[in-house]
């Protein structure tokens, strides 16, 4: 783009990933982990943090190297860098807890293929200085984690009657098994999106209405 380079870091640099350009709710990127591992809040959190780490680390490195990577090998380099950090995360999680590792399944490794990460590398880190990239990646990563949690919490509460593994409703609660199944993932995310759309429309209506009345 022809836009002039703007190196100032603003609140927006950080917050756009949280809400305005939230990778999940707004951009619909990286959907697979979002739906696959959010059947419990703890998995969602772990996945979010892992992604955040990869986003941050690869973003930083790419931003640092951005001027010395020839355009033609750009993508290949980014992928290798991202894959490196994903492997690191993969082994780290195995070292921390095998149970968690088993619960997340192959999806840790699939972070490599998370469209969001390569997308951010391309669109942001390769064009901005490290500090700015870090701030932005943190925002994006947190936004992603937040979205995962939104799903994980709902799915765990309904699907297992617990939150972060803590039983909420006692043993007689009937869990809604569907929520932890694939279909539930789709439906809960769909429901969240509906909710946001509804809020958005209500907001724009209230913005319009006073004008119309006066």
């Amino acid at each position: 783009m022809a836009k002039k380079q703007d190196n100032t870091i603003t609140w927006d640099t950080f917050s756009e990933g949280l809400w305005r350009e939230n990778p999940v709710f707004v951009m619909l990127l990286g959907m697979c982990p979002v739906l696959a591992v959010t059947n419990s809040a703890i998995n969602a959190l772990a996945m979010g943090i892992a992604t955040l780490f990869v986003l941050l680390a690869s973003g930083t490195l790419i931003s640092l190297l951005r001027n010395s990577i020839p355009k033609q090998v750009r993508i290949a380099t980014y992928i290798v860098i991202i894959a490196t950090f994903v492997t690191i995360v993969d082994y780290t999680i195995q070292a921390i807890s095998l149970d968690l590792y088993n619960a997340l399944g192959a999806f840790i490794q699939l972070i490599v293929a998370n469209c969001m990460i390569l997308g951010r590398a391309e669109a942001y880190s390769s064009r901005n200085p490290p500090l700015k990239s870090i701030v932005n990646a943190t925002g994006m990563g947190l936004g992603f984690t937040l979205a995962l949690l939104c799903l994980g919490v709902v799915r765990e509460i309904l699907g297992a009657g617990s939150l972060f593994g803590i039983d909420l409703f006692g043993p007689r609660f009937e869990p809604w098994v569907v929520m932890v199944l694939p279909a539930g993932g789709f439906l809960v995310l769909g429901a969240w999106l509906l909710l946001f759309e509804w809020l958005k429309q209500r907001k724009s209506e209230t913005e319009l209405n006073p004008a119309a009345e006066s």
């Binding site: 190297l65 010395s68 990577i69 020839p70 033609q72 090998v73 290949a76 380099t77 290798v80 860098i81 894959a83 490196t84 492997t87 690191i88 082994y91 780290t92 195995q94 070292a95 807890s97 095998l98 088993n102 699907g159 297992a160 869990p175 098994v177 932890v180 199944l181």
Partner: protein, 242 residues
Amino acid sequence: MSTPEAQAIQPSTPTGPMIRTLMGIAMLSGFLVVLTYQLTKPIIAENQRRAIEAAVFQVIPGAVARRDFLVTESAVTPVSPDGPTEGVLVYAGYDQQGNLNGVAAKAGAQGYADMIHLLYGYDPDCECVRGIKVLKLAETPGLGDKIITDANFVANFDALEAKLNAGGDALANEIVTVKAGTKQNPWEIDAISGATISAKAVGKALNQSTQQLLPQLMPHIDVIRNAPPPPSEPETPDSGTQ
């Protein structure tokens, strides 16, 4: 589409920098990854050992020490870095005194959603399965996972008969899963109503595995019985796992 002059200029390919960058980055990655791998390897190995051990001790009541063996058609040999690599891996569990309490092996069968992988403990003395542990499960939570949580179902494996026939080439009675509440023989598994499929998969897995393993294992069971005590005394497992 484009102006002629734009078409003419094919950007030159910076061969040197391209190769240098990609190779450099690749080697750097290789280094980083191998570093992580080496750093975490002992921890992960320890994690895995503990997980296996916990599972083995769980399915072999009373075991406190374990040794691994490879079962092949002709022999049973202890696992060692320079021993054979092919064969079925079994874990032998010994009690405090070094007596063989049982042998644990892996089994698997297609369940409702995906493969169910189990570890079961086989007691050569009573010729029965003494316990199972589900290693990997993708069944429906709340339904399929009853094969872990349902006490009645788990009780099936207190002593599930798996006796070889006279010829020693197959089970005397196939292990079968029967409808909940209709178990009559020691080689039958009472299914779980509502999760018949998962329960059947367990039965099928056990049947398949024992049918294949026992004819090879039993003739050589003494190799395991008489094996020297485990190389290094493992730390006493928590009492909870027993």
